[in-house]
Assembly symmetry: C2
Homo-oligomer: 295 residues x 2
């Protein structure tokens, strides 16, 4: 890809910071401008060398940027895109890193208006338990998948630029409609998060929760790891992707009812058949081995 | 504790083999006799130095043993305890390592008859993903919890001996009634296993399962790790602990219904409140950090 003159990072946390570091390391950008509503985080980003310059506002950061990378909580997306649109030049491209896409597409249509063709919705499937710019690393996206959901209005050259940037960061980009993205991630990410929160929530509602947790071991630990995630983020994801998530909850509840019936009837062969199918699929899944990255 | 002359291990796999190695390392036993229905596993146990002598049958192994450690699948427990009773002397003590306890207590009452006071039901909360005697290690129980569920018939000196052996292996023993054990483990172990199997089972039932799994990341990986467990073992656990597990499934389904209602209503504060309670409890749980041991 051509070397970009300026990339603006709006929201300099783990994801935005890692994107800046990866782009720098690839030699894909000359100058990184950052902006964050947390002034101290912005200072740390500058002192860590993640950004070259701190801007006062998203519109100031977007002015003159070849690429604006928006990595803020989904609930802040409207305000941020509104500000970005105020500064964005006709040649600038905007992308985001939100976990849900249909709602971001709707927000972008409202806020970006005539700049909408310059916006490429995106979702990098990467993350880690620690957050903040201190945890940012140029390797975060190495081998990770990124889903881009350009719509009928999106300029093909904008999509091509964002794809090239992700590839420079070591990621593999896939394109699909925003609705398909949201259905897939309701299944493989949003539902499991909600299920893990629900299990811990059920246990802590009991008077003997401490005793119960005292006997919990490694299976429980891994099953509930994602229940230590940000409640604000997952509340927003659940509400932003409500319809798909409700479908997933209903499918899952129906499957639990099937297992319940097998247990109640004492149907050993039936239980074993479903468990074996699941075990085989889980063991065959190439993503099943532990690595340092997660969503 | 006094040094035991002979310990018999019935079922020389990960758990039985690790118990033998830990007892040896503690200098708590002079001679280890092993028996296994898998003749090759028994040979490997001897060549690895896990056992000194291979016996032909559980009754032969039990004859003259100070302690008989039964680590076989719960479904084999009846036959094995029947054989153990045939050989066991009046001074021998028997314990087991099954994941459920009330069913083992019932089986023991039927099979051990006048030897029942010599039986101490036990459950070490340890394990790992690999199985078999090759994976056995003297460290497996270091710092692990072990639950003992002696009943009114159990001789106190038998319980004291089993407790001393576990402490020699580095474990911490807790006593409780078998029914209390089964309720606790239905909550913190049996239910999560069934939930993980159910999630993968639901996904693999779909025509686009492969595409879905292609986008699954670290949260899904950890949530479903236990769905790679033995279907035979977890089928048996689910059926052996049926009543407690059905209760847990009903409580969990009710909690899922609460979350579903909050999502359907778009109740952000309600969702955030339950998720925050769960997040705080999960973060405060001392078992939350990864280690090499699990159940």
């Amino acid at each position: 890809m051509r070397r970009l003159k300026t990339v603006a990072i709006v929201g300099v946390g783990l994801i935005g910071g890692s994107f800046a570091l990866a782009m720098r390391r690839a030699g894909a950008v000359a100058r990184v401008v950052g902006v964050d509503r947390d002034a101290q985080a912005l200072e740390r980003a500058a002192s860590l060398g993640v950004i070259d310059t701190a801007a006062e506002s998203a519109s100031e950061a977007a002015a003159g940027a070849d690429l604006v990378f928006v990595s803020v909580p989904v609930r802040a997306m409207g305000t941020v895109l509104h500000d970005v649109a105020l500064g964005l030049g006709p040649g600038g491209v905007v992308t985001d890193a939100g976990s849900t896409k249909a709602d971001v597409v709707r927000t972008a249509a409202e806020e970006l208006r005539n700049r909408l063709p310059q916006f490429v919705p995106g979702h990098p499937i990467a993350g880690r338990e620690s957050s903040g710019v201190e945890a940012a690393t140029a390797d975060l996206f190495k081998g990770a998948r990124v889903v881009l959901t350009p719509g009928p209005d999106t300029a093909p050259e904008a999509t091509a630029l964002v794809r090239a940037c992700w590839e420079a960061c070591g990621a593999r980009a896939t394109e699909m409609p925003a609705e398909a993205h949201d259905r897939i991630f309701a299944t493989v990410s949003h539902l499991p998060h909600l299920l893990a929160f629900a299990l811990v929530s059920e246990i802590v509602s009991r008077p003997d929760a401490a005793e119960l947790l005292g006997f919990a071991a490694g299976g429980f630990r891994d099953f509930t790891r994602i229940a230590a995630s940000s409640p604000e983020m997952w509340r927003d994801v659940a509400l932003a992707n409500r319809e798909a998530l409700l479908d997933e909850m209903d499918r899952y509840s129906a499957r639990i009812a099937v297992f319940r019936e097998l247990v109640a009837r004492g149907d050993g062969p039936g239980l074993q058949r479903l468990m074996t199918e699941a075990r085989n699929a889980r063991r065959a899944w190439p993503g099943g081995k532990r690595s340092s990255s997660d969503e």
